[in-house]
Assembly symmetry: C2
Homo-oligomer: 287 residues x 2
């Protein structure tokens, strides 16, 4: 099915839920091909864990979820059991047990409970991502403030324009390879301004240099005019993030702070989605 068909089926299935909030969760990295017949590509470090867990939390908060993810990256619920083949023990009559996965039944049941409230739309390249995200947003712009865009995908900042790509696999019988990459258009800019100006939009900023993090996240917010940047560092991203919003001071969330001493197993995405849901609810009321 095309992106259009997947989306229309999903919207049609839920057309009577006039007050439902929707989250578009983008997840995984975008590939930038180096050849038209693509053998090589530039990729971004991202398994899609953040997007996959976040989508679960949106579902559990009552959202309808459009999960827009890199083909073959992690998916909600299933990502917790990546080596199932090695865990299953064949028993009688074609049955299996999974003694080392005590939560497996629970997560299969959660997935079943929410499966019809989520549509999975895959992308691979930066071009797919850019075109299909805009397409999705156009088709759901009627949701206005009920829509939350949660842009957790690791989108390339650079790309090579299609007409400049060589046709075939680059030969290695030369002196080396000079790649000239162009700055990629910021997909979010046009979407905020022209496509879903009423939506509640959350972007993510990943850095490795702590000195630049808050500064760059704040600048992103000013540039695109959206609602929240979630800033995080590559090495600490599973324990600590900082919310940057236009009207408040930066708000750090740190799972190692006393605030979370009663929730030792909480995943940071759960806390992030809790905060986003609160902010989005306020935003819906203030229309």
């Amino acid at each position: 099915m095309t992106t259009h068909e997947l989306l229309q089926n999903f919207l049609n299935l839920h057309k009577d839920e006039k007050d439902a909030k929707f989250a578009v969760v983008s997840s995984g990295g975008t590939a930038v091909p180096l050849e038209k017949n693509c053998v090589r590509f530039i990729d971004n470090f991202s398994n899609g864990t953040r997007g996959a867990i976040s989508a679960e939390k949106f579902l559990e908060k009552g959202y309808l979820v459009i999960f827009f993810y890199r083909h073959n990256s992690l998916q909600p619920y299933s990502h917790r059991f990546n080596d199932l083949f090695f865990q299953l023990v064949p028993g009688e009559n074609g049955t299996f047990t999974a003694p080392d996965c005590p939560t497996l039944t629970d997560f299969i049941q959660r997935h079943r409970k929410y499966a019809s409230r989520m549509v999975l739309i895959p992308f691979s390249t930066f071009h797919d991502y850019m075109n299909d995200l805009e397409h999705i947003c156009r088709e759901i712009s009627f949701l206005k403030r009920r829509l939350c865009l949660y842009l957790a995908a690791a989108v390339s900042d650079f790309y090579i324009e299609h007409e400049k790509l060589p046709e075939h696999k680059i030969a290695s019988n030369g002196a080396g390879l000079d790649l000239k990459l162009t700055i990629a258009p910021k997909v979010i800019r046009g979407i905020v301004k022209n496509v879903v100006p009423d939506a509640f939009i959350v972007s993510f900023k990943l850095e490795t240099n702590p000195e630049l993090l808050v500064k760059k996240a704040t600048r992103a917010l000013e540039e695109y005019g959206h609602q929240v940047v979630v800033a995080n560092m590559l090495k600490t991203r599973k324990r600590r993030v900082t919310f940057i919003t236009p009207s408040s001071d930066p708000l750090p969330i740190d799972l190692d702070s006393p605030e979370f001493k009663d929730r030792p197993d909480v995943e940071i995405e759960e806390v992030v989605v809790e905060k986003i849901e609160q902010l989005h609810s306020k935003y819906c009321v203030n229309k």
Copy 2:
């Protein structure tokens, strides 16, 4: 465990099998980091299907297998069931069934049968691949002609030397990005000449341009002085390959030719490994 420990445990476990043939199967693509704190990297198109199926076939032919694979790429047997989470149906008493996977029990049992005859050694970057493959070969060079190196990994032809990498994630606030890549050293060259000169060595050549394929494959064989190049095209690689050897004409294997009309479900890796096993057996006799 380190590569060294994994390998030594495996060799120790099988030290009494004085006549056993060993296959080192390399599989998956190598990542070339663009930053020291790696967020971005150049990757090669490869899921590792060819390596994973080939390793199964070597095991079934009696080989001891060192499966040297890109971290998170496909593994023997399990790769056939990538969406198991969505296939399992919870039943009574913590059991599951998988009604849409009729071959699951069979493949779990095959995996169990052969698990102790295979060691899995992961790599991620081009540097890991280069260093660890040489390390593995040094430790098993005593096998001499009993060793088959089956180099199915998609190894980068280009890389950026570590000292030239920027420390942090490349900023995108400039005019674009010029990447200067150096031709990567051909790992196979040093290994053939200096490390395992007696081994039976099979390399793979993937191209997208049919006019260059046999020519480039033949040149690779002349340059490195090894035994077989398996040449294949990106688009037809699951149905057709060509064996290039020093002493015979190119030998095409085409699953759509009359030769295979009685084996409609055969996987091309099975046929490739059958041929390699025959050639390797002859090579072992001619010592």
